[in-house]
């Protein structure tokens, strides 16, 4: 009986592989197989299992989409706001935190960032 269940589920996984490829969502195959045993053990409902499988695909897509957008943006620096040296800029700390919440983007407001250029800083250190 157990053997039959096993062959049935492997048959279903084969079909999943085909369907996932047709959907161009290859991670579904991997997540479906990996989460199936866990779902059975944890007694997930069908809905919970399906949501968990699709969630992996969506998370992966979002992550790779973010990577693509980061590459396309051509940033001058890879640093994120969390890596900002707050102690070095106490005067603008609150302003930056407010900007990081992204309100300026929805309001289509501009930001003017002023300060000495890196070149000016470097040359001002020269003897």
């Amino acid at each position: 009986m157990a053997a039959k269940t096993k062959s049935e589920s492997s048959e279903a996984l084969k079909q999943l592989t085909y369907l996932a490829a047709a959907l161009k969502a290859p991670r579904i195959t991997e997540a479906a197989g990996r989460l199936a045993d866990h779902a059975r053990d944890a007694g997930w409902t069908h809905e919970e299992y399906l949501a968990a499988v699709l969630d992996r695909e969506v998370a992966a897509r979002n992550a790779s989409g973010a990577q693509l957008r980061i590459r396309a943006a051509g940033f001058g620096s890879r640093k994120t706001i969390e890596e900002f040296d707050w102690d070095a800029q106490p005067a603008v700390r609150q302003q930056i935190a407010a900007l990081a919440s992204g309100g300026f983007l929805t309001e289509a407001r501009n930001i003017v960032l002023l300060g000495p250029s890196a070149w000016a800083r470097r040359t001002s250190h020269r003897p």
Binding site: N62, G65, A66, R69, I70, A72, A73, G74, F75, G76, S77, R78, K79, T80, I81, E83, F84, D85, A88, Q89, A91, V92, Q95, I96, L99, A100, G102, F104, L105, E107, A108, R109, N110, I111, V112, L113, L114, G115, P116, S117, A118, W119, A120, R121, T123, S124, H125
Partner: protein, 149 residues
């Protein structure tokens, strides 16, 4: 972390909001537009540059803008005005940008638009933390450009 880093970091927060961001150094941006004029793809290039959700222009007005660049500056500002955010990174205040352009009337019009409702942040360099508004001009003079005012 300097102002370029901060601009990039703000760009990363926009990425997380699933927005399309473009970061350009001002000189490279103008070079792109100049090239696009030569092969008649200017309109498409302007759309590509100004069509993003967040545009970041780094090192703006570091060097004087010629007539074409002044026009392109105006074009970019008008295209994005009240439609999408732009982060302008500069070692000079917007009022000083006018003297860096060939057409201060056109530039004034652009500056008025881009500073309307804008957030302005002054990022201190590591060696100039105590600097105030008055001696920023003195710092700018280290770049070898004399201020007209």
């Amino acid at each position: 972390m300097g102002k370029t880093h901060l601009a990039s970091a703000l760009g990363h927060t926009a990425i997380r909001r699933r927005l399309i961001v473009a970061f350009y150094r001002a000189d490279k941006l103008f070079t792109r537009l100049r090239g696009a004029r030569l092969d008649n793809t200017f309109e498409a290039e302007v759309r590509r540059i100004t069509g993003v959700d967040l545009l970041i222009v780094d090192d703006f007005a570091l060097r004087p803008l010629d007539a074409t660049q002044t026009n392109d500056f105006y074009e970019i500002v008008v295209e994005r005005h009240r439609r999408a955010s732009t982060i302008w990174v500069s070692n000079r205040e917007p009022a000083e940008w006018l003297a860096m352009t060939t057409d201060s009337l056109l530039a004034q019009s652009a500056v008025d638009r881009l500073t309307a409702g804008a957030h302005t942040l002054i990022i201190e360099g590591p060696s100039h933390r105590q600097r105030d508004r008055n001696n920023r001009v003195a710092v700018d003079s280290t770049t070898g450009v004399n201020d007209a005012h």
